[in-house]
């Protein structure tokens, strides 16, 4: 144990320290912040964002980025609602097919995203941004600007049924987080993400099928976006073209603030969890101590810049666009 305070160590643990400091800060100002009820509320608002953040983490590990989440989540949520209504309106009956169907569809949408990026050879931030717009447009087209309501008690139990004080959806989100962790740490695909992000040339030379890994990464992200869509529907009881609105800013902020380096190769799903919790604690804490919520976007924006600055090893970067 030579020097604990190395740059690497500091970067690794800084997000967690920030999270703890924030929790301490808010609970000193208002003790109600530490209540179980408040944490349950926090978990409800964080669960869908966590799923989007986990999905996009895989992409950022590869050094790419996926900005399609808003459109993807909206479109998938709307399709899920229509499918559920068409199949009888309850997941207790025939409607249970709707859930795996939407997860599969999410993966397909993600794969299309990745395919466009890889085959047309255009930067992923632009191809995915464009696909996000397509998704939002598709959601408007399907709903005609209306709201699709779901009043299935069984499905809504994700929100209403509480276990140890937390709603079921928090556990579902945690289960999918574990799934993401297993994929990241114990599968060949997960290792290949890190290989591609660490250095694409090297990965290619070592026999990694880089293009396939990229498309699979986007497909995986799409899968997690569809989980986020499901949780959004469970949370709100409805779907419309703005169901996914604002998720882009929140999820990218979370992942970056959590310590996943934009250059790829560093970080993982646990960083995404810490990042989502930081963002959720800031949002929730500001309301609890009575600061108006409109400052959030500005604060988060500045936080992102600080996080990227801190996580960039400037000696290794020639220039940025």
């Amino acid at each position: 144990m030579q020097n604990v305070l190395t740059r690497d160590n500091l970067l690794k643990w800084a997000p967690l320290l920030v999270l703890l400091a924030l929790v301490l800060f808010f609970s000193v100002i208002n003790p109600n912040f530490l209540s179980l009820r408040n944490f349950a509320r926090l978990s409800i608002s964080a669960s869908p964002a966590l799923m989007v953040a986990v999905g996009v983490t895989f992409i950022i590990i590869m050094g790419s980025i996926d900005l399609s989440m808003e459109g993807a989540v909206s479109a998938l949520a709307v399709i899920f609602c229509y499918l559920l209504v068409w199949l009888g309106g309850s997941v207790a009956g025939l409607g249970c097919i709707a859930i795996p169907a939407i997860l599969l569809l999410g993966a397909i949408v993600g794969a299309i995203n990745g395919y466009i990026h890889v085959k047309l050879r255009i930067p992923s931030f632009m191809s995915s941004l464009a696909m996000g717009f397509v998704g939002t447009g598709a959601a408007v087209l399907m709903t005609g600007g209306n709201i699709v309501k779901i009043d299935d008690e069984v499905f809504r139990s994700l929100l209403t049924y509480r276990l140890l004080g937390f709603p079921l959806m928090a556990y579902v989100a945690f289960a999918f987080l574990l799934l993401g962790w297993v994929i990241q740490s114990y599968t060949r695909l997960g290792r290949n993400f890190y290989a591609v992000g660490g250095g694409e040339d090297l990965a290619h030379a070592s026999g990694v099928h880089v293009k396939r890994v990229r498309v699979l990464g986007f497909a995986l992200a799409g899968f997690f976006f569809s989980v986020a869509g499901l949780l959004q529907v469970a949370k709100l009881g409805q779907a419309e073209s703005v169901t996914g609105a604002n998720l882009m800013f929140i999820s990218i902020t979370s992942v970056v603030v959590g310590g996943v380096a934009l250059w790829g190769g560093i970080g993982g799903v646990w960083n995404a969890l810490v990042g989502v919790l930081i963002v959720a604690v800031i949002n929730n804490g500001m309301i609890v101590i009575g600061i108006p919520d409109f400052i959030q976007d500005g604060l988060l924006g500045l936080l992102v810049i600080v996080a990227v600055v801190l996580s960039t090893d400037r000696r290794s970067v020639a220039f940025v666009k």
Partner: protein
């Protein structure tokens, strides 16, 4: 006849073909009066696209333009009573300052421009919500007409917006083609490392490009506020996508270095004609997003210079 020789001419050929198609479907389209008002309606979008052109010209991107315009509609409306005509100067300077901040963060801290501008967009959105109290605000009609009425009137049937657009286009064209700044921006877009090696102060010019982008986005917001006689934190939503599309279909590739503001004018006209034709087909603005998203992908794929991207991330 190879594709590389035709490529620079593709934008105006596309525009001509689109105009012919639309006017065959609806002969009224060629009516000068409707064409003029069509062009006048697109001016705020055009001004925003002019700004984004500079950011893309150097190989970056500005995703904050829409939030910037949103913020300015609110700032201009709220401060009109106390500042009078100076509010216009203030707004444009504010936009340029925020843009310069994006550029500063990008160049000095190595934050990719799509992240830094997204973050600055978040800041602008917060300012807009704070100043407006999360409602829409409106201008005093008499004061607006007295100070900024000249922006939206008509002289001899020509909408004044078009004159403003022409003046701004000329200024931007002059900066791009006739000044040292423009030359250096082109050098940076064509190859940043080569520009550094040639002794160009790259950081300075990149910050300038983002400042231009921010200032023009603010001007777009100002014009929008005058047109609507008010503002709101989300009034310009839906502008970002068509503005970026206008730049790219005009022929300025995402990799930068070629194209420029005149191309953006053609690109904006293409967007205007597509929008007009969609009205005939009864496709509303939000649904158009779907279509413009696909056009965006096609335009990037057609224009991007892949020799500059060894690895596509």
């Amino acid at each position: 006849m190879n594709i590389e020789r035709i490529k620079p001419h593709l934008p105006w050929i596309t525009l001509a073909i689109l105009v012919v198609i639309v006017s065959l479907i609806d002969p009224n389209f060629l009516n000068p009066k409707s064409m003029l008002s069509l062009a006048a309606d697109i001016v705020p979008l055009f001004i925003m696209a002019l700004g984004i052109t500079f950011a893309i010209y150097i190989g970056g991107i500005d995703l904050s333009a829409q939030s910037m315009a949103n913020m300015v509609t609110v700032v201009a409306t709220v401060l009109l009573a106390s500042m009078g005509a100076w509010v216009a100067v203030f707004c444009v300077l504010l936009g340029a300052l925020l843009g310069a901040f994006s550029g500063f963060v990008t160049t000095r801290f190595f934050v990719p421009s799509f992240i830094s501008t997204l973050a600055v967009g978040g800041v602008a959105f917060s300012v807009a919500q704070w100043l407006s109290g999360q409602r829409s605000v409106s201008m005093d009609a008499a004061q607006r007409d007295a100070l900024f009425g000249w922006m939206i009137g008509r002289t001899a049937g020509i909408p004044h917006e078009l004159v403003i657009a022409a003046v701004l286009l000329f200024i931007c064209w002059f900066i791009e083609r006739r000044t040292v700044i423009g030359r250096n921006l082109k050098a940076i877009g064509a190859g940043e490392l080569a520009a550094v090696a040639s002794g160009v102060s790259v950081s300075k010019y990149k910050i300038a490009a983002f400042a231009l982008s921010g200032g023009l986005a603010a001007f777009a917001g100002l014009l929008f506020a005058v047109k609507l006689s008010g503002g709101a934190p989300s009034v310009a939503n839906g502008f970002l996508l068509p503005a970026i599309v206008a730049v790219l279909v005009g022929g300025t590739p995402l990799t930068g270095g070629v194209g420029g503001v005149v191309n953006t004018m053609i690109g904006t006209l293409i967007v205007a004609v597509i929008r007009a034709s969609m009205l005939y087909l009864d496709v509303n603005a939000t649904q158009q997003q779907m279509f413009f998203g696909l056009i965006l992908i096609a335009a990037i794929a057609l224009t991007i210079d892949r020799s500059k991207l060894r690895i596509v991330k």
